[in-house]
Amino acid sequence: MRVPILKLHNYLLVSIQIELDDQTAMQFQEDLLSKIHETGATGVVIDLTSVEVVDSFIAKVFGDVVSMADLMGAKVVFTGIQPAVSMTLIELGIYLKEVPTALDLEQGIIKLRQELEEK
């Protein structure tokens, strides 16, 4: 199972709508980095509105993807994290402090634009 990655101008848009197992998550990480390389995208929004469970492994993959994309010169923003997912992550002890987030896709694009203009 692959997560589709869409290109919109110099951004990549991802909406995760499948149940993420470890392998799919790792594959997604690799696919996203290749796509950044291929398209020269400077910003990525990953929408988690449909994601109901984020465990410590998936959280680590998400955190890593931010650092990896950053090394390549692209900014990643996560959007639409559900209240239950947010509560569960903090209770698990995972704060994802380095991970930029926004309420929804629209706010995510605004945040990306701001961050990219600051540079």
């Binding site: 197992d21 470890d22 392998q23 109901e52 465990d55 410590s56 492994f57 239950a84 209770e91 995972i94």
Partner: protein, 134 residues
């Protein structure tokens, strides 16, 4: 007091997803709210991954508990792996021997209401319960 028991074998990576989906479904049927469903599914995911990573195979057992007006879901994660050497270390946040975030067991304890860990050379057994008030 009626009790129903079911279980999911953990042998391959995908079984982690299978176990948490089964647990989520059960917790929904038992009447847990959406936040508790996420807590339960996440806890199962952590326990199943521990089995897969450290013991290769094992089993997650679900038991519905009826102690009216409370209902509960008891989750037992059991394996015949090498066991845990340092029990107090694995209950500390940030401790990991696998390069993970080290959130697993202490995180599960916080997500659930009751938590018990037994481990020796014969394997590891984690028993945990979440209660819902209806």
């Amino acid at each position: 007091m009626k009790e129903t028991v079911s279980s999911v074998a953990i042998k391959k990576e995908w079984d982690i997803v299978g176990a948490r989906q089964a647990g989520r479904q059960l917790s929904q049927e038992l009447g847990f709210g959406s936040v508790d469903q996420a807590r339960i599914a996440t806890a199962i995911s952590e326990l199943a991954r521990n089995i897969y990573l450290y013991a290769k195979e094992g089993e997650i057992t679900f038991e519905e508990l009826y102690d009216l007006p409370k209902v509960g879901l008891k989750i037992v994660a059991k394996d015949k792996g090498p066991g845990i050497n340092d029990l107090s270390a694995v209950m500390q946040d940030g401790y990991s021997t696998s390069g993970g975030l080290g959130a697993g067991l202490p995180g599960v304890k916080r997500l659930m209401d009751e938590f018990d860990l037994v481990s020796d050379g014969e394997g590891t057994k984690v028993t945990t319960i979440k209660w819902a008030r209806l």
